[in-house]
Structures are given as structure tokens and as C-alpha cells.
């Protein structure tokens, strides 16, 4: 049965409808979840979508981490179910301490909207478990604060533990280690700056987002089977 995936909506989110529609295309039953929700136990997975949660006031994700839903997202993550943060969602997950590192302003100090190549580095994560390492995907990016940064120790550990999920082929924003996406130790919480939901059919210029979203949906279905 298609897994039930929640897509969190903060005031200021703007990719929530896109993510719902792409997840449905990838075989899920996706639905919007308001940021005031405190119980996500009925969901097999959750996505924190892109946008400007709470206007990105102070800095991206800094206020969103205090929204009531984030405690429930944390519980879901600890229960081993898949959690995905896309773009602003990635920023929120780092601010919430669910993923290491931080996203700072792009090198060059300009917003970048483009389609770039990223390489799948690890199949350890729920986002890439069905995609072979070395696969190069063409995915849209759309951010001002997409420059991934972390201390050297964290970087060493991320690499050693195979937690760098995606790398830019040609680094557009100055990210440390060309990192476009990382996961937690268990591999069930993933954040990435590119937008796979914007690349699900050739009509839009690329269908390369579909394999990773399908992988995430399959992981959610598997977690549903485990908890059932």
C-alpha cells in the first residue's frame, strides 16, 4: 500500500504543493501538515519542503525549528522513519540539530536558480538507497543560502561514515567538500539543497528527481511495514 507521507507547511513555505504532487507521482499518498501539528504518528515519512519558513527572519530555519511540528518531526526521525528536508527544509533540519553543519550565503553573494549536475555519493540514505553511487543527476537548485559548511572534524566524520549523500559536479555555491546533501548516522534523515520535485518529467527539462523520490517513498513504505 502506498505510504502516507506528510509535507510540512510553515507560513512562508512555498514548495509544499510541488512536493505533494511529485511524491504522489512517485507512488505515495502525500498530504499537507500544518506547522502547528504536534502528532505525526500516523505518517510513514515526512518531508520539510522548500520556501522561506517564517520569512527566513533572523536566518533560514532559525524560527521554524521552534514550530510545534518540529518536535514531532524529531520523534518521527528517532523512530527510524524517513525524514527529508529539501532546500529550506534542509536548512530547518540543520537548525533543529537533526543534521550536522549549516547553510550559509552562496559564494558570490547572489541567489542562484539553475539546473546543475550532482553525483550520488552514498546509497546509505533513504533518499538514495535505490540509486547506484556514481550516478549523475541533473537537478534544479534555487537558493541564496546553499553554501554547506561544517567544521573539519564533522567533515572527516561525514566522509568516513559515508554520510555525504550528494556532491555537486561543478560546485555552484562554495559548499564545503562540494556537498549538496547529507544524512544522519542512521541514514533515515536526509537534507539536500537541490529540488528533486522540480525534475520529475522530461517536459520540465529533467526527470532525474524521480529515482530519488521513488527511493524515499519505498523507504517510507518499508518503515510502514516494520512499524505495522
Amino acid at each position: 500500500m502506498a505510504p502516507r507521507i506528510g509535507v510540512v507547511v510553515f507560513p512562508g513555505s512555498n514548495c509544499e504543493h510541488d512536493v505533494v504532487s511529485a511524491l504522489d507521482q512517485a507512488g505515495a499518498r502525500a498530504e499537507l501538515v500544518w506547522h502547528g501539528a504536534t502528532d505525526l504518528s500516523g505518517f510513514d515519512g515526512v518531508v520539510v519542503p522548500g520556501g522561506f519558513a517564517h520569512g527566513d527572519y533572523l536566518r533560514p530555519g532559525a524560527i521554524a525549528r521552534f514550530s510545534p511540528v518540529m518536535a514531532a518531526v524529531g520523534e518521527l526521525a528517532r523512530s527510524g522513519r524517513p525524514v527529508l528536508g529539501i532546500c529550506n527544509g534542509f536548512q530547518v533540519l540543520t537548525e533543529a540539530g537533526l543534521l550536522p553543519g549549516a547553510l550559509q550565503k552562496n559564494r558570490g553573494l547572489r541567489f542562484i536558480c539553475d539546473t546543475v549536475e550532482v553525483e550520488v555519493v552514498s546509497s546509505r540514505s533513504v533518499l538514495t538507497r535505490d540509486v547506484a553511487p556514481g550516478t549523475v543527476l541533473r537537478l534544479p537548485i534555487n537558493h541564496f543560502e546553499g553554501n554547506y559548511t561544517c567544521d573539519d572534524e564533522t567533515l572527516t566524520r561525514l566522509v568516513a561514515e559515508d554520510r555525504v549523500v550528494l556532491r555537486y559536479v561543478d560546485n555552484p555555491n562554495g559548499s564545503t567538500g562540494d556537498i549538496a546533501g547529507v544524512c544522519n548516522e542512521a541514514g533515515n534523515v536526509v537534507g539536500l539543497m537541490p529540488h528533486p520535485e522540480r525534475a520529475t518529467e522530461e517536459l520540465l527539462g529533467s526527470a532525474d528527481g524521480l529515482p530519488v523520490l521513488t527511493s524515499f517513498v519505498a523507504a517510507s513504505a518499508a518503515s510502514a511495514a516494520v512499524t505495522a
Partner: protein
Amino acid sequence: MPDPTQSNEPLHRALGLTDEERDRIEEILGRPPNDLETSLYSVMWSEHCSYKSSRIHLGRLPTEGPHVLVGPGENAGVIDAGDGIAVAIRIESHNHPSAIEPTQGAATGVGGILRDIFTMGARPIAVMDPLFFGPPDDARQRWLIEGVVAGISGYGNSVGVPTVGGELTFDECYAQNPLVNVLCLGVLPVERLVLGRATGSGNLAVLLGSSTGRDGIGGVSVLASAGFDGGGAPDEDKRPSVQVGDPYEEKRLIEACLDLLDAGLVVGIQDLGGAGLVCATSETAARGGMGMDVDVSAVPRREPGMVPAEVMTSESQERMLAIVRPDDLDAVLDVCRRWEVRAAVVGTVTDPTGEEPGHLVVRESAGGPVVGDVPAASLSDDAPRYRRPLARPADLDRRLADDPARLPAPPDCGADLLALLCDPSWVYRQYDHQLFRNTVEGPGGDAALLRLAGPGLPPSRRGLALATDSDPRRCALDPRGGTAAVVAEAALNVACVGARPAAVVNCLNFGNPEHPEVMWQLSEAIDGMAEACLALGIPVVGGNVSLYNESGGRDIDPTPVVGMLGLVDVLERRPPGVGLAEGGTVIVLTVPGAPAPSLAASRWAVELHDHRDGTPTPVDLDGHRRMVELVGDLVARGVGGGEPLLSGVHDVSGGGLGVALAEMAVRSGVGLQVSGVAGHAELFGENPSVVVACTAHPDEVAALAGAAGIEARVLGRAGGERIVVEGLVDVTVAEATAAWRDRLPSHLDDLSVAPD
């Protein structure tokens, strides 16, 4: 803005009203207006709000069509796109604010146009920005460009509406008076369409969104309806008349308003833009044939000590006025609470008394004494209309006679070609152009192509095409023919992505209407637009007029900007786009009997030789209509899911055939070898109604062209790593790509952004 208390000048003059206009107010009221009432009339009768110089001419535009649901005069034009879906579209200028404070000026331009669209019940799904600056080799221009682009990017991206295209024009005439036009398109289920009307006596006027401050007071009058004095930094003292935008407030306002409309909780709704609360209350009341009783003390303020005139005319951003039945008020407040949107009841809809029209009544406390009382409709309907004098410029004949054909032929056409290439992606890479998963063809091509889809819409296989165009240099020489050519080019642009032109919106950017030459240009431009729209069968569904674009007494070139909406019946495959395919045949499509290409008003003559004169080739509207239909059909076949006939297509515009061919090469990385181009005039001349196509089916394309009454001539073949026009040009695709790609960054990257 001038402080009226510090001057001996009468208040009405300080606020921009003439003595005659002030007398007219006294006549309407039957008594002298008080200071508050004078303020209300001064903003509502400003050029910006009242169109007092242009209105008598605008009536000549064709506005009807079977698919037009709402024509000009409302907040946005609306057409029926089929499948139960309507499309709302509008274009506006934010020129004067952007000249003074580029980032906030441009940002609030985006915010304002979005409100015009969701006021109609539509969700905004696309923005386009035609921008005009002085040449970028100057520090102040770079500051303006950086600021405007940052303002559009910062606001548009954050509010969550993709910017899918625009235009970028550099010319000396915009150095002191840049133009920032913003077009917005929205979609809605047909049944959600609402109009800005206040009906039902006793219904409540609820102000939604931001608190009200002193920002933007007099924006429409002292700022937008007067020229700049000139000098290095124009009119710094007008900066307080520029508003400040907050995209996060706007985003919540959009979602709250669309929820209110979906739930059927509002009777009418209107945005607060230019002229603020007085405009929203008087216009909704007048349209509904009612009056309105407003209590300014109920308006949430962001600063103390504001007098009623300030509250009524403030242009604080991100505010809407909803007309609500009293029984629905609690439900309205619940929706607003969810979206963290402030809501306050500030007025009540009132009946007209007897034969009298409805009045706008202003009080300083609930049920307190009346501090202002004017007939609501008089603020808009009784605004003066001027038949200003027109005069053809005295030097025009001399200019028309000085043709650039007399310029010497370039020693190296290849070098000139490289000098004319410019990739605008430095600008649009800063705009989110992909949100909503609708963008099939984004910025950089002839037109944007979008799926007709959005949250809450019925499913559809249709598509929307959108293009903006202008040609100020041609319009300076021939405003009538130039404007017709702009409409024609915009129609051809949407045809290049497989669409049928369906509606026009226009933004008429002109100089000082008190100059008879400017009024002549405006009148001619409107006639040219009417002729082209009639000949091509496209209604005008909305527009905006921006006058007083002058600085130091110098008017800008007449700059009518056209936004063209096109419809695609079936959108299943990407259009061929601006490109070439290895081994394809390169064909040029022209109207039979067209004159030889003219260099008059061409980018080659103006940008490389500073020669602005000559007689441009007029557009043959009948032939052009056949061209638009042919190209639309050729492209639509593939877009609709059939076997694609073309592998690349591009209309010939700025820079002529040479630039069109080079752009196709650099955008695809495929070279070409063509012959039969007689000389530099044919290479760089800019005749209307010319299209280049690349195809693997040349015989079929030629047959279809012949049947459509269009001439198809084989120019050569695509392929290889060089761009070769026999006898004229031989450059590598790599060097052309570098010239094209590096032009803007060479001016705009890694430089100080502060003006001196």
C-alpha cells in the same frame, strides 16, 4: 515630499493639484474642501491614479473578444483559457520609486502587481520583468541594476511566485530614469472570479495585512506624477515617498485571501496600492454604487501621531480591503489568525441617500464627528481629463531622412556580431523561475511556456505562453509603426513556442505629457497598438500608463511595452527552442514582397555607431498574421505530441539575422554554415516578420509555408564548431559563446555596488 506646513504655497499646489483642479473640487462639494479632502483628491486625481492625460486616447484600443471575461478598468484583465480555468494578467510600472531606491522600488513593484492579481481571486503563478537602464559601464547604472534585480529576486523568490522571463535594454535615455515594469499572471477556477465591489449596506470593510505607517505618502502624486530634476543623484529627498516591502507578509496575505475566497467569505476585495486606503474604499464603494463610512482610528498603525490624511493616503505595502457580511466576520478572523494576518474592521458599507451618490465619510473615532465627506465616485469618475496639445517633433523629418545605409560597411562583420551578443542569464539566474513545476520553457527564449496548472485548478493539458517586448528606438522614429511592430513581435514570440496569441496588456512608458511631442508619441503609439491588435485579432485586456519619465528636461524614448499571453491547446512536449540540431537545414521564413532589411533603429547602428536615425521598415500586418499562424502551427505540432517538424526556431529581432543565428548556435553549442546573405545590412538589419528555423524536414516545412503564403528560403546547414556566414562571418562557436556569456558579468561581477 514637500512639507506643506513649511511653505506659504497653498496646500493643493504643494500636493500637486492645479488651481483649476482645486476649483473643480469645490464645485463638486458645493463648498471649499478641507485639508483632508484636498489630500484625498490630490492622490486620486494624480496622473498615476486618474490617467488624466491618457484616458481620452486609451478608448481607441480594441478590448473585446469572445474569451475576455474582464477587460481594462478592473485590477486585472481576465480571459477564459478553457477547461474551467481563467487567467488573470496585468502589467505595471515602478519606474520612479526604482530610480530613487532601486531595491525597495523594484520589490514593491512586484508586491503591488501580485496583489492586483490575487484581488481577482487568482493565484499568481508567473512574473515577468522588462527592465531598462543606462549603459552598464557606469557605477551608478551598476548600482541601479544590482539593486533592481536584488529587489525582484528578494521579493519574488521569497513570496513564492516564479519570475519566468523579461527583457533587458540598455540605452543612454534611461540613465537618469530607469524603467522597471512588472507583469504578473495568475490562474483561477472560473467560478472564483471576484471583482472589487462593495455591496450590501451594513457590510463591513475589513483591512487585512500590514499596519499603516507614513511610508509612501504621496507616492502616486509627488513621486510618480512628476519628472526628475536631473543631476547625478535624482531627487534624494523623494526617497521617503518610496514604500518598503515585506514578502513574508505578502505571502501570508495571498494564502489568507485565497482561503477567504475559496470559503466564499468575502463579497468583494481590493488591494491597497497607490493612494492607499482612500483608493480602496472609494473605488470599491463607487463600483458597487454605494458609500462607505470609515473610522481611521480603527486602522492599525505602526507609528503614533498620524493624522487622518496620512492614514487615508499612506501607501504602506501588503494590505488588502475585504468587504464582509457581518455574520461572516468571525470566520474571516479565524482564517486570518491561522495565517498570522492582522485584520481590523475599519468601515461600513452605506446606502446612497436619495438621488445623491454614495459618500466616502471619514471619522476620527467610531461614530465620532465627520472629518471628511466626499462623493465616493467623484474621486475616480470626476477626475479631470485633459486633451493635451500634440505636436509631431520638429526634427523628425530630418531624422527619418538620415538613413544608416550611409555608414561604412564594417571591415569585419564577425567582430561586430560578437559585440552584439549578450546573455541575460546574469539577471534571471537570480530569479526562481521553476516553482510550481509548470515552467516548460523558462527565461532566455522567445517566450516562456508554462503548463496551465496550479493548486486547486481542474486538470488540463493546456499551456500558457508569455512574452514581453518593446522597441524604444524604433518607436522614437515612428511611434505608430514601432508600437505596431512591438505587438507583432510579441505575437510572433508566443508563436515560436507553439501558442496562439490571446490577449495583450501594455505598459506605456513615456516622458512628460505637458510636452506636446510626448503626447503626440503617446497618441500615435496607441493608434499603432490598436491597428496591430485589430489586424492580428488580439484584444487589449489591461494596461498601465507611466508618464513624466524625464530627467533634467529630457524625455525618455517612447517605450510602450507589450505583454502577450498565448494559449496552447495541448502541451505534451517541450518546444524546439532557440537552438540548432547537428545536420539540420537552416531556413529563413519571410513575408513575400518584404523590402530589403533596414538598418534604421537597429542595434548595429545604435550600439556600434550611435546612429539613431533613419526610416524603419513598417510591419505588413496582413503578412505578419500569416507568419504568426504558420510558425504557431509548425511548433504546435510537436508540442502537442506529434512528430516535431522543427529542431530549433527563433524570431529575428534586435541584432538582425546575424544575432538570431549566433544565438541559436551558442544556446545549442552547434555551429552552422549559411550563404546568400548579401551584406552587413542583410546581416544586421531588423525587419519585422522574419523567423529562422532549423529542421530535418525542409520540404515539408517549405510546402506548409507556401500554403500559408510565406516564403521559405534555405540558408544553409547546421553543424560543426564554427558560425560561418559566407563572405561575412567566420567565428568559432566557442568564441561567440564566450562573448555572449561574459558580456554582463564583465560589467556587473566583483565590482563595488555603491554609487560614488
